[in-house]
């Protein structure tokens, strides 16, 4: 490893920790919100479903950077509250990724075969029970690969948080570059770190899927 990296390793690792924190919190929050929105849109809860339709369309047509700007500058101005770049980044990434996850989960819910639903109804389960115990478990297990694709995307997207001033991995690497000016080794280190972690996330996804996939 080049000297620049070794000398600044503690600083970079602190950035990496922040990246990991943002990713984990956004994955948890985004998945929860995504599942909720996906289910609401699937069972067509009146009014709420239409609202979320508009939400998903809107967010999916907007760049993450703009969503982060809205969360960091727009909402605080509109609703009159104080926020930090860190929490605005997490809020923005959650709101952003939830729209994509909701769409994936909804297509998973739709892919559950009608005959399974009918069989469950014939056994005497109520409609709510069918959704909870039959449709959702099958759908979630089927969409694991797509979900992990989105998680990899999310991990890469955390780099955008550096633009609103969060010193995560990319942000701290660019700060170091401003001080040391060794762009080649710093950016190579950056790329390599993201590469390793993205591989780790997708391998984890494959491992989980190989355990949980529904075999017929």
């Amino acid at each position: 490893m080049p000297d620049v990296i070794i000398k600044n390793l503690p600083f970079l690792l602190a950035g990496l920790r922040l990246t990991a924190e943002i990713s984990v919190l956004s994955i948890i929050g985004g998945s929860a919100l995504g599942v909720a929105i996906g289910i609401v849109r699937h069972v067509r809860v009146p009014a709420l479903a239409q609202l979320f339709d508009v939400y998903v369309e809107f967010v999916r047509g907007t760049p993450l950077l703009v969503v982060l700007f809205i969360c960091y500058f727009g909402f605080p101005a509109l609703f009159g509250y104080q926020t930090s770049a860190y929490s605005a980044a997490i809020l923005g990434i959650i709101l952003f990724i939830a729209a994509y996850l909701a769409e994936d989960i909804r297509s998973g819910l739709r892919s559950v075969r009608g005959s399974l639903v009918q069989a469950a109804l014939a056994l005497g389960l109520t409609r709510a029970q069918v959704i909870c115990f039959v449709v959702i478990p099958i759908a979630l297990r089927n969409v694991i690969p797509t979900l992990f694709n989105q998680y990899v995307r999310l991990f890469k997207f955390t780099s955008v948080a550096s633009v609103i001033g969060v010193n995560e991995l990319t942000g701290s690497a660019m700060l170091i570059n401003a001080r040391e000016f060794a762009p080649f080794s710093i950016i190579a280190f950056l790329a390599l770190t993201y590469l390793v972690f993205c591989f780790a996330i997708s391998s984890l996804g494959r491992l989980i899927y190989s355990r949980l996939a529904i075999r017929t």
Binding site: E57, F58, R60, G61, T62, P63, L64, L65, V66, V67, F69, I70, F73, G74, F75, A77, L78, F79, G80, Y81, V152, K156, F157, T158, S159, V160, S162, V163, T170, M174, N177, P183, F184, I187, A188, L190, A191, Y194, L195, C198, F199
Partner: protein
């Protein structure tokens, strides 16, 4: 308390947006130019890398294609842009070119994956039949396999294309004067934060929807799978 009520009563005021419309139009056009150039280059990269990945024999072509895809896809776009803009600063490329290269190399990997699976989805019999009626391998690829593969992958291409348009907003970070950059500039002058960013979100939404609808108008893009003899 008094301060709090003053904060809450943020009044929406769209007039500054309208008076700065020439900046927004300028940014919008730059975004279109940037996305279009990056898309062209990404399509070239994607078709070449994807075709290399679709070769049947295991060899250097397939390995390097897979390596390219994995390498490019797993690095954040922002790092791609910094690579061209900061690490290769000695080349003195204009920011617009840096953004085009970064976006094209990044999206090219996604297009390559889609092209590879599209070629794989064309039944092998189509190619064999083309060879049997006397087409050369190159002609078979060009006139038989590619046209069918292209129709199969049109929906995926549409989604990659809208992804690219949205990703182009990151070019504002390396000082390309596209839509997001102009929005930040207007925000800095007028402080109409919420209005500015909602406006450009809607502009992005407009552009993305237009592109996806446009690509779905490609003749036969929707139902081509049903028209290919499945057992051929």
């Amino acid at each position: 308390m008094a301060q709090q009520t003053r904060h809450v009563s943020y009044r929406l005021d769209w007039a500054p947006i309208w008076s700065n419309r020439d900046l927004l139009v300028d940014g919008f056009l730059t975004t279109i130019a940037l996305s279009a150039s990056a898309l062209m280059l990404a399509l070239v990269i994607g078709v070449m890398v994807g075709s290399a990945g679709a070769t049947r024999a295991r060899g250097i072509l397939r390995t390097s294609s897979a390596a390219y895809v994995e390498l490019m896809r797993n690095i954040p776009l922002l790092v791609h842009l910094y690579f061209w803009y900061v690490a290769l600063a000695f080349l003195r490329l204009p920011p617009f070119m840096c953004a085009v290269f970064g976006l094209a190399l990044y999206s090219g990997a996604y297009i390559a994956e889609v092209v590879r699976s599209g070629i794989g989805a064309v039944p092998q019999g189509q190619r064999l039949a083309a060879l049997a009626i006397g087409l050369t391998p190159r002609q078979a690829l060009l006139f038989v396999v590619y046209p069918q593969a292209f129709r199969i992958i049109t929906p995926s291409l549409a989604s990659i294309c809208s992804q690219l348009i949205k990703d182009s907003s990151l070019a504002s970070v390396i000082a390309v004067a596209e839509l997001t950059y102009q929005a930040s500039a207007i925000e800095g002058q007028t402080f109409r934060t919420f209005e500015v960013y909602i406006t450009i979100s809607l502009l992005y939404l407009l552009l993305v929807s237009a592109v996806s609808w446009g690509l779905l108008l490609v003749p036969g893009a929707r139902d081509v799978v049903g028209r290919i003899p499945s057992d051929a």
